[in-house]
């Protein structure tokens, strides 16, 4: 069961990847879906046993590396934290596999797509069940690879290739820090095994490295790694571009699972992070800033998938600042609920795009709600959950996050709370802007497209409906386990709050207006969107015209891409050319080639002296004789 949950997807990937050509496209698709269903069943069973019955387990698979006291094993570590992730990943991935059968039906090479998708799931599961940091890194890079392949799935498009490369390389920047963090972990603890690290943390709190506290430095380095994968401020630029991939990919990888790996990492390292207060402050600050920053951009984008992508970025910021104030459980809770409603929103958007003949610009949609009612309904549910409207999944987790930020009673906690409230307002605003522009108003698409609008097939609607159920119920059902009264028994030590950290208790004792605030601002956001886009549809354009600088600043995503082009990409290219053309060709090669031509010139000169005329030689001899004789006479006397 434990092994099956992880390895069934690999089996599925192998079948459809290598044998897809022989068994045919349909068989390949359905066999990978079948493997995923098996994995999901195993995942659910594992969740029941490990998390609900509190029976964690570790399954050893073999040695990986063992060099001079540096020991690594392949092993599956099933504690509650891992089991939650495994159950969530396998379930969502199964639904998305199923959805893809419908979505990719017009594609040329579905077996390749399913192979990548299953491979991704396998890698993600390796990541979450890792027993040590290197295995986690294996999964970490593996999901990066799968994401690279899937973003660039339509590889005849230049934009898709560019986005795929960008995703991989920006992630690599994060990995650079991650790797250094792992090296420092080994230097500090002589091991990168989770159990050994966690056991040894209290003895190493005083260690320093380069004059800095080792634990703090580890925390910062690992967090910077997490920033890459989870698209936090500074390393977020790849995520919106990643929407070049097919929509199921966006739903699975760039919303529900892979991008949450960074949050998972911080929670996994909670026993260590607890002793790194400054690193946690950084986590809170970056998370809170990202939550607000991404939400501001989401308000003006016009591509339906990019809006949702920025909203993902923003929600990841929430998770990070929850972890940053020490409420890892709450971060995991939001991660869990977010997976449902964000996958739902993306797949809903996919259904819209499918219906609109691959149109993604919401300015060319509108007036289609009655033609695709099921999609319309599930998009509403997803948006309600995202905005945190009471009794939908997002309400429980987002409220809990804001309560925790408030209860932190620190400066950065306050900052996070304010950013969180503002972002909640903007979230509701852009969600309803999206809903209204997409489904209501006058149809803005051409007649041909409008004529083709159709509801998606059952194979796509079924996953949507299941996810919608999750988006409604996941918060209510699991609140008590994740953050409520059974919290301690549920996590069973897989997440550690240090003795000085009472946030899980304090967050339930905040003033009464705090839990109410997010709901109020969300309703205000919805009202504003309704007013601007339904009541006075001319107003947004006028607003944009009134503050053109701000509008352009937001539309161009705070000019991050341009900035990075200027600072990194351009100079790197110029430096490359200089190093090559001048450094290698002129200077380094110039010297030996110069030496060669010098030698050739000298030998030509020497050849010229040898004229073959005896008179010349005799003359030279006499000159020489005179020279040496005079030297002898002058010098030796």
């Amino acid at each position: 069961m434990f092994v099956g949950a992880v390895f069934f997807p690999l089996l599925g990937a192998t079948i459809s990847g290598f044998f897809g050509r022989w068994i045919g496209s349909r068989a390949a698709q359905w066999s990978s879906v079948g493997c995923m269903v098996l994995a999901a069943v195993c995942g659910a069973l594992a969740f029941a046993e490990v998390a609900m019955d509190s029976r964690p387990a570790t399954v050893g698979l073999g040695t990986w590396i063992d060099v001079g006291g540096f020991e690594l094993a392949w092993a599956l570590r099933y504690d509650t934290l891992a089991a939650v992730m495994v159950a969530m990943v396998t379930l969502i991935s199964t639904l998305i596999h199923l959805y893809s059968v419908g979505y990719m039906s017009h594609d040329a090479t579905p077996p390749r797509f399913f192979a990548y998708l299953s491979l991704f799931t396998f890698m993600m599961l390796m990541l979450v069940t890792a027993d040590n940091l290197a295995q986690l890194f294996f999964g970490w890079e593996g999901v990066g690879l799968a994401s690279y392949l899937l973003i660039g799935y339509w590889y005849d498009r230049d934009s898709a290739n560019a986005a795929a490369m960008k995703a991989f390389i920006v992630n690599r920047v994060g990995d650079f820090f991650f790797m250094l963090g792992v090296a420092l972990v080994f230097l500090t603890f002589d091991s990168i095994d989770f159990s050994e690290i966690f056991a040894a943390v209290p003895q190493h709190t005083g260690d320093t490295f380069l004059g800095l506290n080792s634990i703090e430095l580890i925390g910062v380095l690992l967090f910077l790694g997490a920033c890459g994968k989870s698209a936090q401020l500074g390393l977020h630029t790849w995520l919106p571009d990643a929407m070049e991939g097919p929509t199921p990919v966006s739903a699975l990888i760039h919303a529900a699972t892979m991008v949450t790996a960074g949050v998972f990492l911080v929670c996994r390292m909670s026993p260590l992070m607890e002793f790194a207060p400054n690193a946690l402050t950084l986590v809170t600050f970056v998370g809170a800033s990202t939550a607000l920053f991404a939400a501001t951009i989401g308000c003006v984008q016009n591509d339906i998938k990019r809006i949702i992508a920025y909203s993902t970025c923003s929600q990841l910021g929430y998770m990070f600042f929850a972890a940053g104030v020490g409420a890892y459980q709450v971060a995991m809770f939001h991660l869990f609920t977010h997976a449902f409603f964000k996958a739902l929103l993306f797949l809903g958007a996919g259904s819209v795009i499918h219906a609109m003949s691959d149109e993604q610009d919401i300015r060319r949609m509108g007036g289609i709600w009655s033609k695709i009612p099921v999609t319309y309904a599930v998009m509403w549910i997803g948006s309600l959950a995202l905005a945190g409207i009471p009794f939908f999944a997002g309400y429980y987790s987002k409220d809990a996050i804001l309560e925790a930020a408030f209860a932190a009673h620190s400066l950065v906690g306050g900052y996070a709370f304010i950013c969180g409230i503002l972002a909640a307002f903007l979230t509701a605003f852009y969600s309803w802007r999206l809903l209204i522009l997409t489904f209501h108003g006058e149809p803005r698409a051409d007649e041909h497209t409008m004529g083709h609008i159709h509801e998606s097939p059952v194979v796509m609607l079924a996953p949507l409906l299941l996810l919608a159920v999750g988006a409604v119920l996941a918060g209510y059902l699991f609140y008590d386990f994740f953050v409520g009264e059974h919290e301690h028994a549920f996590w069973a030590g897989s997440i550690v709050n240090a003795a000085h950290n009472h946030i899980m208790h304090d967050m339930h004792e905040v003033p009464a207006w705090v839990p109410l605030a997010p709901t109020v601002v969300a309703v205000l956001g919805i009202a504003l969107a309704y007013f601007l886009y339904m009541v006075a549809p001319g107003l947004p354009a006028r607003l944009a015209a009134a503050v053109p600088a701000l509008y352009r600043f937001l539309l161009n995503k705070w000019y991050f891409d341009e900035l990075y082009d200027r600072i990194f990409v351009g100079p790197a290219r110029r430096l490359a050319a200089v190093f090559w053309k001048i450094g290698d060709v002129r200077i380094i090669d110039g010297m030996p080639n110069g030496a060669a031509s010098l030698a050739a010139g000298a030998s030509r000169g020497a050849v010229r002296i040898q004229t073959g005329r005896v008179a010349n030689y005799a003359f030279a001899m006499i000159i020489g004789l005179v020279f040496f004789v005079s030297l002898f006479m002058l010098g030796l006397r």
Partner: protein, 503 residues
């Protein structure tokens, strides 16, 4: 005295020469000669490879001593003898050489059409030289093989190479020879000092600290060119570009390892103080190599040149690992050498597949190949990812260990080594994107055939080796564990002794 019961290493070394001799005597018209030469070369190299597996099977992993030792007195009055043997450091390189040779011969099956007999002879002689070099335990014997490698390689580049082959061959030859002359001086000095050229004896001989510095630099001159280290690397791209595919494979797979092997075999154990003293210099050169050549790789328009520059960057990681003097770093360096031998060899073969079909190495000439040749696209992607250091594939294990080892010594050096993770991804993905992805813009590419059975046979062992080394590297690491541990221990003991003497 010998675990195999017969002089296995000499057999491995000289069997290819026998094959070469047989090929020399083949008579008949050109087609018959070519066919017989190919088959003879393939069988000879395969038999050599199978015999070398005995090394793998019978090698005692528990000891750092030299094994399969053979010793014949040659010039006893000068302390020079024919002495062969392998330890954990060298045994896998013997295997790497014997494994890559049949793959190279298979890869040249159809690509080489002129002077096939001479080509195959050159390759078999090259194998003799490589195996002999890794197995030699006498400095003079080592030197003979070390230099001997140059001759067949010089011919392979100069005769069967591309348009500027003569320039490249001379550059390759002169560069490497210049360094070697200085090494010969150092060997002569050591022989005068210790009265012998026997390597294990020299390992136990304490060279005066004052003399160590210049001997170190004499060795460095030779090994740095072979590695190649920045800034004496420019012969490599030219040699690679002009060499035939199989020549590039051997060049990247085995010849580049000779320099690093020299550091581990001579510089570290014989000159411990100088090695420790000049380690910062090596670190600086290596980190510069990683950053500089990675950037230069980014600007390349020629597929082979790009991979050649990437080799320089990878070897930078190797030299960092060697001069960390700790077990993780050294094991990582050795592992990276092996992994790089397999992976970059395979990448050159990937380029060769396209070159055989289109006769161009220019990146811009391609595009959309993955759609036309899906199996090839997959294989190329596999090795691209291996080269980038994806965990689970061969290169990662070595690089990871080097970074861990380097971090112990100096975190900035570790950061420099880790930089290759980012830059490596940049240039390799750019290469893959421009060659394999994108729209097909050249109509003549549409007719390309996917991998042939012969090409599958070439790639399959390399794919399996890469996966195996990535997922379960322990059997490989275990081979050099004892030798590396002994090396580290001896190094520390020597340094401590020097420190005590200084007090």
């Amino acid at each position: 005295m010998n675990a195999a019961g017969f002089p296995l290493l000499s057999l491995l070394t000289f069997l290819p020469l026998v094959g070469a001799a047989i090929i020399m005597f083949v008579r008949g018209d050109d087609a018959v000669v070519a066919r017989n030469a190919r088959w003879t070369a393939l069988w000879t190299s395969l038999v050599t490879f199978v015999l070398s597996l005995i090394l793998w099977a019978r090698f005692d992993r528990g000891t750092a001593e030299f094994q399969f030792v053979e010793r014949v007195s040659w010039l006893p009055e000068f302390g020079v003898g024919y002495h062969m043997g392998v330890d954990g450091v060298s045994v896998l390189f013997v295997l790497l050489s014997t494994a890559l040779t049949p793959i190279c011969i298979l890869a040249s099956w159809e690509a080489i059409t002129t002077r096939v007999r001479e080509y195959m002879v050159a390759f078999l002689v090259l194998e003799t030289m490589m195996v002999g070099m890794f197995a030699a335990l006498d400095m003079l014997v080592f030197y003979v093989f070390f230099e001997g490698v140059l001759i067949p390689m010089f011919l392979i580049i100069g005769v069967w190479g591309g348009a500027r082959r003569v320039y490249a061959a001379y550059k390759f030859f002169l560069y490497t020879l210049l360094g070697s002359v200085l090494m010969l001086l150092a060997i002569l000095y050591l022989w005068r000092e210790a009265g012998t050229t026997d390597i294990p004896t020299l390992h136990r001989h304490a060279v005066p600290v004052a003399a160590q510095a210049w001997i170190f630099f004499a060795f460095l001159a030779s090994f740095a060119v072979k590695v190649p280290m920045w800034p004496v690397h420019t012969w490599l791209p030219d040699a690679h570009v002009e060499a035939p595919t199989a020549g590039s494979v051997i060049l990247a797979g085995v010849l580049l390892k000779m320099g690093a092997y020299g550091f581990i075999r001579f510089s570290l154990p014989i000159l411990p103080e100088a090695s420790a003293q000049f380690a910062p210099l090596i670190f600086v050169l290596s980190v510069v190599a990683v950053a500089y050549t990675s950037l230069v790789a980014l600007a390349q328009e020629d597929m082979k040149k790009l991979i050649a520059y990437s080799s320089v960057a990878h070897m930078g990681i190797v030299t960092i690992g060697i001069f960390t003097f700790n077990q993780q770093g050294l094991s990582g360096a050795l592992f990276t050498m092996l992994a790089h031998g397999v992976v970059s060899g395979a990448l050159f073969l990937c380029v060769g597949v396209l070159y055989d079909r289109v006769h161009s190495r220019e990146i811009a000439r391609y595009g959309g190949v993955a759609g036309i040749m899906p199996s090839y696209g997959l294989v190329f992607l596999f090795f691209t990812m291996a080269s980038v250091g994806l965990p689970g594939l061969a290169n990662f294990v070595g690089e990871f260990l080097v970074i861990v080892g380097a971090w112990k010594v100096n975190p900035w050096v570790a950061a420099g080594a880790a930089l290759s993770m980012i830059l490596g991804a940049c240039y390799m993905l750019l290469l893959y994107r421009r060659v394999a992805f994108g729209r097909v813009t050249r109509e003549d590419l549409r007719g390309l055939l996917d991998l042939s059975p012969r090409e599958y046979a070439v790639f399959l062992p390399l794919v399996l080796a890469t996966l195996w080394m990535g997922v379960y590297p322990q059997p490989v690491l275990a081979v050099f564990e004892a030798s590396v541990a002994a090396l580290v221990q001896r190094h520390e003991a020597a340094l401590n002794a020097a420190r005590l003497a200084g007090l």
